[in-house]
Amino acid sequence: MNKRDKALQLIKELEDNQDRPISPNLKENLENLTLLTEGCSDIVFRQFDFGNGLCGFIVYIEGIVKSEHIQDHALRPFLMHLTDQIDEHEEALQNTLSISSVALETSMSKVAASIIEGNAVLFADGHSKGLILNIKGGQRRSIEEPITESTIRGSREGFTESLRVNTALVRFRVKTFQLKMISFKIGTKTKTDVVLAYIDGLADPKVIDKAKKRIKKIKIDAVLESGYIEEFIEDDTYSPFPQLQYTERPDTVAAQLLEGRFAIFTDNTPFVLTGPITFWQLMQASEDYYERYLMSNLIRWLRYMFLFVALYLPAIYVAVITYHQDLMPTNLMFSVASAREPIPFPAIIEALIMEISFEALREAGVRLPKTIGQTVSILGALVIGTAAVEAGIVSAPMVIIVSLTGIASFTIPRFNLAISIRMLRFPLMFLASIFGIFGIMLGTIILVLHLCKLQSFGIPYLSGISPFKRDEVKDIFVRAPWWTMTRRPGTYSRGNGQKGAKREDPKDEENNI
């Protein structure tokens, strides 16, 4: 059996949690660990001999620990006190080392696991215990502005890849011990930390139980992004509509938690999942709640309007100009007819050409490096917009329709909803080209039926409107002023729904003086 096979066997043993106690023999421990970490150049063994018979070594992985802490807080105090009572006086030891978290461990598998998680482990000769020093650290991205969800007004902090930084960002905002954070470890290889956060007393215990169960059931070797978890726990994977929201914004997560929802933090990704969600929630931007309510309402209505534009405009255009020419005002009809005169394609083909090239352009814009991105989009816009029209390949009204649809789809605040709406307009366009307005109605009926059937963790997707809930309408089509929204939405939250009282008129106080 060669070295590599032995190492693999050892790893397998440890992964299967077949325990192997730590040997009192320092050499044996060192051999075992060297075998285990065979080929890992980032592992560091720091051996030391203090002379008075006390010798040992510290093992850790370079880069994911704060290595300067080993020197300052582990080696130096150790050297100074020259103690040989590691076993006997744990308290004395803990007092000696100025590291925040220290633990003693006897099992090899646990020691190995803690090394891989970013702890340093100290072994001493003659002792069958490993001393785990919690010095997790290493370089991570610092807190930056959330790029995918920038706002004009509101917090500029965005989540980072570090799980504990992310949970801390929420803790900064919700200062109550009711905010629970349940830890999970998912992924046999990645051992990704996943945290389910909710506010006890606000969240529906049934929903939380469901979420816990679903998370526990996940069996996968790697979780690299919260998207892996999303697909495991969502109700209907085959639906085009997202059933969990993701966000980079700590304030959004805090707001969701306060409405009785849960959040799932995943290590190594700035995107936090929240749920259960409704369709309406995906049309709300965080700015709606920060800007004064009249503006918020206006913008929200605009968004709903453009939701329809994004979904229906190309389909309606195709239907009207191929079936229902009598629906258009005469002069508009002539403008469209004269523009379409030199076009060699039927309307549906023309629409498909334009829509697909728009989608390609958008995709290219995302993938391209920033420096060329702009050049390509200008080129694309020029080629598709001007040249194609002048060459008589597509008509100008179609270019207008497609660009309006494109703009409309970007007014939807949640990217995952925007993309499903963009996707759904293609079947609608086909239906429109086959059956006209009747086809659009058919598509709409199917769509609405699907939405009515859809659930997110047992909560109806259209909750608030269907089933109708009077106290939730205040935040669906309008955003009522903050001081009138005195109750939490009953769909998600349990317990006392009261969250504030109506304000007294600020002017009254002045008048009383």
């Binding site: 020419q325 469209v336 379409r340 030199p342 006209g436």
Partner: protein, 364 residues
Amino acid sequence: CWDRTEINDIAFVVSSAIDKKKDQYRVAMQIPLVGQLGGQTGGGGGTAGSKTWYVDSASGTTIREANNKLQTSLSRTINTSHRRTVIIGEDMARDGVAPVFDILTRNPQNRLTALILVSRGEARDILNTDVQLEQFPAEMIRELAIIATSRPVFLSRFMSDLVEIGSDPYAPVISASKTKPGGKGKSNLKIDGLAIFKKDRLMDIFKDEHMTAALMLLNQARQPEFIVDLPNQMGQASIQLQKSNASFHAAEKNGKLSMTIEIRAKGIIMENQSTYETRENDQYYIIQKALNRTIKKDVISTVHRLQKLKADPAGFQDRTIRSTATTKNLLKKEWEEVYKDMEVHVVPIVTIEQGGVLYKTISH
């Protein structure tokens, strides 16, 4: 898929003209050449030349047959959903318009908001008039028909006037003209009178002051203007009426019908050739009195003319039926007899509201 029609395979009819020659109907249609309408260049489509429209016609023993014949000579499907004007030739109108309205209302593709006009002479010539102001003649015809009466004579209105007991339809008359006298200059179209129908037959065309007075009777006048002869050979004044409103009061007198027509309006002096000062109250009233006199005279003579024609566009019969001041005896008689003997009183209550900025005439 089966009834899919691309927009480039449709011939939009913007206006139709229907004439009758002996037993043959002749239908002419105006179709805009969308390729010439200033869309993008390049590609095929459209015919040569700079005209943005063309007119094609066909004859048949029924209107539908004429339509079908027309279709055989067109590469695009005829679509009448954007037809906004229908012109009926004078001869056809005198023969009765009922056959036209059958086909216009039976097919759901036709819009009931198409405007009905009667042409002086052949209707096809109206469609062939090359107008200067609009892109195609149909547009000009439509605009003219809309401003001819205060509520445009849509197909639906014409039909309800025709079908309803107690009123007769009317429609504006359009004719081709030239910008210079003697048939020279550029061709143009103009509204040239009001066609008075009895049932579905054209009886007469009212022009000038009779047209104005008839429109006032119908409450359809848009700012009617009167040229008033002022007393003492002082010349004339042009007065425009705003918001003229005629109300009718039917009464029975010795078994005869009498109708009192009250006309209320406000006038603006647009032109004044006399030395009457529009500032001085007594002189102001002289003009007002003269105006009222003129209105009364015009309206009475118009009603008499209508009585002679036995045409009832203002709905006197309807008003008589609805009136409480008349008895059933009146209605037992033949309406035409009652109408013929009807006594007419006109009470104009017209005040002049504005004398303009000038109160003295500059020439004096």
